[in-house]
Amino acid sequence: MPVSDPISDLVGLAAFIIIITGAAFLAGRYVAAVFGGNIHLPFLVRMENSLYRFLGTSPENEETWKGYARDMLLFNAIGFCVLFFILLAQGFLPANPQHFPGFSAVHALNIAISFVTNTNWQVYSGEAAASYLTQVAGLTVQNFLSAATGLCIAIALMRGLTRELTGTVGNFWVDMTRAILYILFPLAVIASVVLLSQGVIQNFDPSFTMAGYGGAAPQTIATGPVSSQEAIKLLGTNGGGFFNANSAHPFENPTPFSNIFEVFLILLIPAALPFTFGRMSGNMRQGWAIFAAMLILFVAAFGVLYAAELGGNPVLTSLDVPGISMEGKEVRFGLTGTVLFSTSTTAVACGAVNAMFDSFTPIGGLVPMFLILLGEVVYGGIGSGFATMIAFIVIAVFIAGLMIGRTPEYLSKKIGIFEMKMALIVILVPGILVLVFTGIALVTKGGTAGIFNPGPHGLSEIVYAFASMANNNGSAFAGLNAAATFYSLSGVIIMAIGRFIPAVAILALAGSVAEKKAVPSGQGTLPTATITFVLWLIAVILIIGALTFFPLFAMGPLAEQLALAGGF
């Protein structure tokens, strides 16, 4: 029985896409109802209202984009401080049966920023460095809060786009509460239980020794509260694993079913947001248009990655090891399960992995890198991907307007200079970070010392690292020595800028369009819910992504692929 069978793989993929589309459609409507304040369960509403009284706020108390941004930044600053403290003081805190010492200041800084920004780039090996308290009260909390923050920003943007003549975009405290209470918390509990049923562990036992069998040596095994962390790490598109091997570890992802279920969790909320937007704008076609653009890019990326890995590694084939290269892959997922997970985790800004990208074929490794560098607009990180997609739409509408002489407008709102500036900040900031820091890494000792694999592959490792951090993904070509001071400290700057500058720009964009009057569409309007526009949008995304990064792709993965194929 071969490891892969393209025809049945294709059928499986099609079935999965139908299921995820249906689920995302329903979830999108639900999310719209939650943030519209249209969930009327008496018990929960009473609880919500007394919480707002306790906080001294109420849903009617809406804010301008500046107030919303201020609240968001303050709230995240508190989260950062608490997590930073937990990481430093871990050695003195309870629930630490392995007696792990506290993290160094540099690593604590990196980890705290990493989890607050929804990146979950990991400079540590979870099972060998983080206590149960750190995993549960430190990292899991930020998995919830950073995901909810991203969701709030996307919702504020949707409000801005669908309102007119108002200065307000919502109440951050209320949005935050609803994101956790109605969406992330219940979904995470259900997902945890499903994962438990498959064999994902959940306990506070200290690590223990197993006796071994038939000559196989005894093993000391790491254990802990994994299921609760796993569920929210995927749902919240965070991606930071409990174990070093992340979702490749059998305790995080034990069966073929748990694998597909985890992919489902990664995609669910990001894929739901276009439908939420359609619902909120009262025009589902707009939502479908965005979803279609994302889906086309997703299927294309899946296809390229699948084909690249199906081709195998010529080096291994020449040693009489036919078929796909299984280095860095797990048997139980099969090729499709591996490719589907890898495509999803980088299309969405999740960053969990079930295989080691460093060991993929060069083109196979290029696909996740490319998806991240496009700004993770294919579904995208919870909230942030949708927002980046809107920024691309603004630019697509503007360029099209210039080309055919029509007024640039989107959803009856005129796109002006300010909106263009904000959209460009959202799109260009991560790219500039990647290019500048890759340059610095290549000419400094600290940068090149971290490389693990020789040749063009080493460049791929560096580019991938900065792409992953600047776009808040968190996956890695894990051979790179991420724990080195150069990468830890540069990562702090990159992750913080890559998250919060675009976030504030998105809120500014939201505030600016909320103030505008909607102009009825007329002869000069460019329709944005058509197939033509969807294709145009995809072209704009690919052109910007390709132009920015093509030289790096050529010197890294493409050069390696040519060398491999040529037998060098």
Binding site: L55, D71, F75, F144, A217, N244, V321, V331, T336, P456
Partner: protein, 190 residues
């Protein structure tokens, strides 16, 4: 001061959401796990007749052939199948170290009388370094060597392998066997 009031609200909300997501949530899931999925929650452990924990159904062991079926090479730090620190080799496809390591594994298999073409999973390191499974192909390739080492009938061993096949939850997953489970069946245990 415009920051004082939002800072106060932010602190209060953080405390509430910290309790919900960092205390109530993990404890609730732990409680459900203990009640409904106790065996899974504690690691799907395998015990021998005396009740000693010998391993986990989900964590591979470092078996040596040909008396036992062997699992995949493991690149975990320290020693192979280090269940305390998971991870793959991260060797790139063009890294000469990868080709060299695969070659060594192939030679070792050859010395045990297993011949090529070699199933990919049997000569490469998994992502976790703890992969408990090998493909059906990789198990069948070992059948003649194991049968000879044990003085058993090849067909008998082959039938045992086929009775251990799992992994048909989805049409696009390969058939595979759990190495620990297969080896225990070989010994007439479990």
């Amino acid at each position: 001061m415009r920051l004082k009031r939002p800072l106060q609200t932010a602190t209060l909300l953080f405390v509430v959401l910290f309790l919900v997501s960092g205390v109530i949530y993990p404890l609730l899931v732990t409680g459900i796990g203990d009640l409904a999925f106790s065996s899974q929650a504690h690691g799907s452990l395998v015990r021998d007749r005396n009740g000693t924990v010998i391993g986990s159904m989900l964590i591979g062991l470092d078996f040596e052939g040909p008396y036992y079926f062997q699992g995949r090479p493991s690149a975990t730090p320290g020693n192979p199948y280090n269940a305390g620190l998971s991870g793959g080799s991260n060797l790139g496809p063009s890294n000469p170290v990868l080709a060299e390591r695969v070659n060594q594994t192939i030679s070792a298999l050859g010395r045990q009388g297993i011949s090529g073409p070699w199933p990919g999973d049997l000569v490469t390191a998994s992502a976790s370094g703890l992969d408990p499974h090998i493909t059906l192909e990789a198990a069948l390739a070992q059948v003649p060597a194991v049968a000879e080492a044990r003085g058993m009938n090849k067909e008998e061993v082959r039938a045992l392998v086929l009775s251990e096949v799992e992994g048909r939850q989805f049409p696009f997953n390969p058939e595979y066997v759990n190495v620990l489970s297969l080896n225990r069946a070989l010994d007439g245990e479990g």
